[in-house]
């Protein structure tokens, strides 16, 4: 067995432990963030060095292929941006800075494992490592709202895990194996396609994973948790946690339940339609920007699920590409919000009035990201929607794409409303909004990504295609 295959995860875990120990024995706490970000270079380098391998370890439970490596690099970049943007926020939990960075890194380790397991029990363990870290991070502010959010996330997350385990138990009971590839063979060999028990298992799996990606009707936790959690954690939840959920769903449903794709394709199509509609319609009524982005992320999960409903390689590669675009866009929006709400100490959209005059660059970045979320060219959001919609049409889901296009129009209303408040509203004061160099670096990186993917998407698209092509045998 080749331990080198696990090197990105091992080095990331070691980094988290180093951060904990540094926090205990060192007084210069500002170094912790620096160490966390710089240290991420090591797992990232291992991940890049492994690119091109296609091997399994631990009896087939761990698989290192371009799909998992792509997601590993994705999670590392996201966590680096989140840590950079946390530097302006960390003063709110100054006594627990070391724990904060360490737990962020541990959550990332869990996500990286989620992307590279091919066995139900390992998937569950990785999912719990991620989940428990995120429950702690959600309650990190220790005020009323944050604690409530943490508790709510923990309780609903526990229920979702239980449902997921039921689903896994049913699939295991029917096929007699927890390895995804063997499940697929057993389903075809034993003619289980018409079995209602398998359908039940699929439905329970969709419910369990649907919680992770915040699909309707498992989205109840999203607005409260997003509002209560520290803003960098909200950004992390809305991007990395969702992406990890989609990575696992792609792996499980394409590799294990591929033969039953007619069943789950339809389930995902219906959920996608409901999710995007509910997310967008409810987002219109929000006055808190974190809540609004929470509902917007529910709607985006709906668009993403078109890629699942398509149940084709085009669909999965469009989904992976969409995830990258969505990550840059949403992270950019949240990083701008961190800087602004740090100054004005409010998340109300009304308080953002005239922000363009107080913080021209931050406002420009926020506006760019909101335009990208709405899907207007020349931004990443437009390209992402274009590809995922055409994947849907390729698979004959014209009705779903029509619903999605109508939704895009609805969504443009509430995204552009914020842009209007920022640019045309009267400023509430003349004070400038300060931001640290780290945060500005993270924000410019995200905005450059949004523009670059909107103008020249081919390279990332090609990599996404390579990654997605790993999924089908």
């Amino acid at each position: 067995m080749n331990i080198y295959l696990l090197s990105p995860e091992i080095s990331l875990l070691a980094l988290a432990l180093v951060v904990i120990l540094l926090d205990l024995f060192m007084d210069r706490k500002w170094l912790l963030g620096v160490v966390s970000v710089v240290g991420l270079i090591v797992p990232a380098a291992f991940t890049v060095a492994l690119w091109g391998t296609n091997q399994t370890a631990f009896g087939g439970a761990l698989v290192v292929d371009q799909f998992s490596l792509f997601f590993k690099l994705f999670f590392l970049v996201v966590v680096a941006l989140v840590i950079l943007s946390s530097t302006d926020y960390a003063h709110k939990f100054a006594a627990f800075r070391g724990e904060y960075y360490a737990i962020l890194l541990l959550a990332t380790t869990g996500m990286m494992l989620m992307a590279s397991t091919r066995e139900l029990i390992s998937i569950y363990v990785a999912l719990e490592l991620t989940g428990i870290s995120l429950y702690v991070l959600t309650g990190f502010l220790k005020d009323d709202k944050s604690s409530e959010a943490g508790l709510k996330y923990l309780l609903l997350g526990a229920v979702a895990s239980a449902v997921l385990l039921y689903g896994m138990a049913l699939v295991f009971g029917l096929t007699g194996t927890t390895h995804l590839r063997e499940i697929a063979t057993a389903i075809s060999a034993e003619g289980l396609l018409s079995s209602p028990a398998l359908l039940m298992g699929i439905v329970l799996l969709v419910a369990g994973f649907g919680f992770k990606i915040a699909a309707v009707p498992f989205q109840m936790w999203v607005p409260d948790v997003y509002e209560g959690a520290p803003t960098p954690v909200t950004a992390y939840l809305s991007v990395a946690s969702k992406a990890a959920g989609f990575a696992v769903i792609l792996r499980v449903f394409y590799e294990a339940l591929g033969p039953a794709s007619l069943d789950w394709g339809m389930i995902f199509a219906v959920i996608a339609a409901i999710t995007m509609t509910v997310g967008n319609v409810v987002a219109i009524a929000q006055s808190n920007i974190k809540r609004m982005l929470g509902y917007s992320s529910i709607a985006q999960a709906g668009y993403l699920m078109i890629g699942l409903a398509a149940a084709s390689t085009t669909g999965s590669s469009a989904l992976v590409f969409f995830l990258v675009c969505y990550a840059f866009t949403n992270l950019g929006a949240f990083i701008a919000i961190i800087a602004i709400s740090n100054k004005i100490d409010s998340d109300q959209i009304a308080d953002y009035s005239g922000m363009a005059r107080r913080a021209p660059l931050l406002s420009l970045a926020l506006a760019l990201c909101l335009i990208s979320l709405a899907g207007i060219p020349p931004t990443a959001g437009f390209m992402a929607k274009l590809y995922i919609f055409s994947a849907g049409i390729d698979s004959g889901l014209v009705w779903l794409v029509i619903i999605a296009v109508i939704n895009t129009v609805i969504a443009a209303y509430y995204y552009l409303r914020v842009v209007r408040v920022i640019y045309l509203g009267a400023p509430l004061s003349e004070e400038r909004v300060p931001s640290s160099g780290a945060l500005r670096a993270a924000l410019s990186f995200a905005c450059l990504g949004v523009l670059a993917l909107g103008i020249y998407p081919w390279m990332v698209l090609r990599i996404a295609e390579v990654a997605a092509s790993m999924l089908l045998p």
Binding site: L13, I20, L21, L24, G173, L174, T175, G176, A197
Partner: protein, 123 residues
């Protein structure tokens, strides 16, 4: 494989039947008049292994027990994994030793954390 669910079904029925009958037997006997009903204050007190009950059950526990419980869990897990490792030490050889060292080191960070945060002091 599907047939194996039948066994689970039998267990399920037995479990439901057991729970239902243990609840229903006293109710039925009471209904038939077999069980006399003679309440007195002693009968209504909380049963505590034959001891006389002392005070209320809503007492406050010292919060520090919580830390000790957490540390205990960590030690517990460590022993749970160390025991089978020790039994198979000869087959696992160097790889097993290195792996166990890595495991203990990770847990050690947890203990160092608890120690530096002052959890081990009973103030």
């Amino acid at each position: 494989m599907l047939g194996n669910f039948g066994y689970i079904g039998i267990f399920l029925l037995a479990a439901i039947g057991f729970a239902a009958s243990t609840i229903l037997i006293p109710v039925t006997l009471r209904f038939l008049g077999v069980v006399p009903r003679k309440p007195n204050p002693t009968k209504y007190t909380t049963y505590e292994c034959g001891m006389e009950t002392v005070g209320k059950s809503w007492v406050r526990f010292n919060f520090r027990y919580y830390f000790f419980a957490l540390l205990f869990v960590v030690f517990d897990i460590q022993v749970v994994f160390l025991y089978p490792w020790a039994v198979h030490f000869n087959q696992l050889r160097l790889f097993g030793l290195v792996e166990m060292l890595a495991f203990v080191l990770i847990l050690l960070v947890g203990f160092v954390y608890a120690w530096r945060k002052g959890v081990l002091q009973w103030k």
